[in-house]
């Protein structure tokens, strides 16, 4: 090892624009790790497809039944697959100490948290939403219903991930927190599920869906603004336990 320092001692002033570079780096790192561990991404996807495809076999393959229950099945399967993958969100970073360095980086932590959760949504949930049109055909949904379903999932799943990340950040320092996290998060997921499936049911019955979509949009806006602050706070608490 070299014993001469390379960079002289200097005091850093707060620079503008550093947050953007840090946010980009956060996203890049998340995607790089996701790409290196592709099998971890496939797990929730397979889980999602399996639940949806087992319903016709287990309950009834009648097109009439599937058309009615299909949207609910897809929504519940998406919710469960997000819920069960939450536990891993910060787990590795906490274990290898990266979270500590992340919290100590001189950038607004809430913003980094938003970038991080956004990147996670793109790698883990977006593929799932992209699969929905195929599953919609399988469940005999009408094209219009499938479209509304995709729309509600696009608005609803980011809320699930953002809110879930608060719980994941809070429980990351606890051992065996899997069940605890699921129990904490489920009540918060129920409203999203109700309005998500509500919109699709309304579309099936030919009613207006704008009300439901507006509510989902309001939840999304609130989550985007407030959840990163809560995630940042929760991460600081978890790191201080370490």
């Amino acid at each position: 090892m070299r014993s001469e320092p390379r960079v002289p001692v200097s005091f850093q002033e707060q620079e503008g624009g550093g947050w953007l570079r840090a946010a980009v780096e956060t996203v890049r790192r998340e995607w790089l790790i996701a790409f290196r561990n592709r099998q971890d991404l496939i797990n929730p996807l397979v889980f999602f497809v399996l639940i949806v495809s087992l319903f016709p076999l287990g309950v009834s393959p009648e097109p009439e039944f599937l058309r009615q229950a299909g949207p609910g099945i897809i929504w519940v399967a998406a919710l469960l697959s997000i819920l069960l993958s939450l536990n891993l969100l910060f787990r590795n970073d906490y274990a290898d100490g990266h979270l500590e360095q992340w919290v100590l980086s001189p950038q607004p932590l809430a913003l980094l948290a938003l970038a991080r959760v956004g990147a996670v949504w793109v790698t883990t949930v977006l593929p799932l939403v992209l699969l929905v049109p195929v599953l919609a055909v399988m469940l005999h949904l009408r094209p219009g219903t499938g479209l509304v379903l995709v729309l509600t999932l696009l608005a609803g799943t980011p809320v699930l991930v953002l809110v879930g990340a608060i719980g994941a950040a809070l429980t990351v320092s606890l051992r065996g927190s899997g069940v605890l996290l699921v129990l904490i998060m489920t009540p918060f997921y129920v409203p999203v599920l109700i309005f998500g499936t509500g919109a699709v049911t309304a579309a099936v019955e030919g009613a207006s869906i704008t009300g439901h979509l507006a509510l989902l949009g309001a939840m999304l806006s609130l989550a985007v603004v407030l959840a990163p602050l809560a995630i940042a706070g929760a991460l600081r608490i978890s790191v201080s336990n370490g």
Partner: protein, 211 residues
């Protein structure tokens, strides 16, 4: 000549209803090397985490250049390098990606500098191997390579030399000595015996029964 960087006033910390340390007063100035000593369980790591701003569960005041740390947190973190027990080296990223990523969170990462820092840390030729394939000592060197990229006036190193070989420890000590001479401040804990001049020692756990 030396200016005070970090000042601790009456730091008191308890764990499980048992006081770890109390009434700690010290000023770390530029050009000073501090070693926190004490037996296992004396609270060395806890103290370093408090100083790094990671652990808010303490009483007393912590000042960075005269300002409370919690009020100038971003500025403090921009001027601090903290290396903890777990170094924050991700096993699925290569040595280069780990170091460049760490740097980009602080200042723009220049690829040549990152490569040079890895070579300085004795990792020349290992830059593109996933950290999972490196030995424990090499992984530690990935973390230690940050020292060559950091301009931070204050370094807090918690058992930073674990797993690296004796020769590297000697060179790291020389690096710290040079750093201190250049006006940096270093606070560290180590189980190695430090062969350095002018080390200020803060011993924790005195007055308590050996734990």
């Amino acid at each position: 000549m030396t200016s005070t960087l970090l000042e601790a006033r009456q730091i008191h910390c308890e764990r499980d209803d048992r006081p770890l340390f109390s009434g700690l007063d010290f000023r770390v100035g530029s050009g000073e090397l501090w070693r926190i000593a004490g037996p296992n369980g004396a609270g060395k790591t806890t103290l370093l985490r408090i100083l790094a701003g990671l652990n808010p569960a303490f009483e007393g005041e912590l000042l960075w250049q005269g300002e409370p740390v919690h009020r100038v947190r971003t500025q403090y973190q921009a001027n601090l390098l903290f290396l903890g027990h777990s170094a924050g080296v991700s096993s699925s990223l290569t040595a280069y990606e780990n170091l460049a990523g760490w740097q980009a969170m602080r200042t723009p990462a220049v690829p040549e500098q990152v490569m040079a820092a890895l070579a300085d840390a004795g990792l020349g030729g290992y830059e593109d191997l996933p950290a999972a394939q490196l030995s424990a000592g090499q992984q530690r060197r990935v973390a230690l390579a940050r020292l060559y990229l950091s301009s931070a006036p204050l370094w807090i190193l918690d058992e930073a030399f674990t797993a690296v070989d004796r020769e590297a420890v000697a060179q790291l000590e020389a690096l710290l000595a040079n750093r201190v001479r250049a006006g940096g401040a270093v606070i560290l804990t180590t189980h190695h015996s430090l062969a350095l001049e002018g080390v200020r020692v803060l011993t924790l756990g005195e007055g308590h029964d050996a734990l």
